[in-house]
Symmetry: C2
Subunit: 198 residues, 2 copies
């Protein structure tokens, strides 16, 4: 075995463990909140002792930081995926994918985790910075998409409106769990067309 192989194996092992902890932490944070979830509870969910978590994360804060990084990456990937769509199908695709966005953003687990991260960002400057960096990245990418591919002007306002709308869905589903997604979608599609039309 080459040293490279060994290190890679060890790293992979550690990565699996880290992912295990992050999965457990996500569940606990959703159920009890970041401050409500104790390390003991997270450890139990991850199937290891509390003390052992500290071999993979410096402290509790580091766990939520890693969790935010992981979520940010997923979010970025989704957003950057739009760039692969040919320009003559883009508007149509955006309208049609609206319901996928609604489904994701109103998913009980995902929306709860999003809100938990948002709440933490309010008093943890590092988390806030991570969210803002991710927002800037995806916002500029979407602006570029609307400007270059669809040839729109005044892209800042259009993107802010779309981001406000989809970003607001987790709160919406919390305030009205019986939300009629289809009724909302009818007007959401109308809004997308109105905002992304010249």
């Amino acid at each position: 075995m080459s040293p490279l192989n060994e290190t890679a194996k060890l790293s992979r092992r550690a990565e699996v463990r880290r992912a295990q902890i992050l999965d457990a932490a996500a569940i606990c944070f959703v159920e009890q909140g970041f401050h409500g979830a104790g390390m003991a509870r997270i450890a139990e969910q991850a199937g290891m002792s509390a003390g052992h978590i500290y071999h993979y994360f410096e402290n509790k804060d580091a766990i939520i930081e890693a969790l935010v990084d992981r979520e940010s990456e997923l979010h970025s990937e989704k957003m950057l995926g739009f760039h692969a769509i040919p320009r003559d199908q883009l508007l149509q695709e955006l309208v049609e994918r609206a319901d996928e966005g609604v489904r994701t953003q109103t998913d009980p687990f995902q929306s709860a985790l999003n809100l938990e991260i948002i709440a933490e960002a309010q008093r943890n400057p590092l988390i806030a910075e991570k969210l803002r960096a991710n927002d800037t990245e995806t916002r500029l990418a979407f602006q570029k998409l609307l400007g270059e591919t669809l040839g729109l002007s005044d892209v800042e306002g259009r993107v802010e409106l779309m981001f406000t709308l989809f970003g607001g869905l987790p709160i919406r589903i919390l305030r009205n769990p019986d939300l009629d997604r289809e009724a909302l979608l009818r007007y959401l599609r109308k809004v997308i067309r109105a905002v992304l039309a010249d």
Copy 2:
């Protein structure tokens, strides 16, 4: 002094004290979150001892409950205010008052407090119920407004979209503190017209 007068005076006194505590708690919750803010810190901000707060509130949970009640009432009043507008001015008014809504919902203190309440609602069923009751009340009132005053059909979807949009602003301002409110407003007004048109 009549007993009535005495009781009224005492009640008023107690009400002032309660309001003092709620004001202090709101500040602390915004700064450190519900779980991060200690009773000692709240007491200091309110200008009294920690133990004394328990003469006005049974426990810490009761404070946030009262705070949510107070915010809900303010929210309801604002929403119900639209009913006083004559029908031929309503659409115009709604479009024009959009910037007032944006200002309120993106105000640093107010939006932070809103998000704090949202976060607490995620794991405190009583708070969640209060938010949902308030949402149902204001949602139905707004649906009635659109249906009866503007004569619109399919009001559920229209209202859900508008509520998602304004409700999403606190998250938006957190993710992008440099949000260009004017740019957003240009499209927000467009959306209001598109959603509230027949």
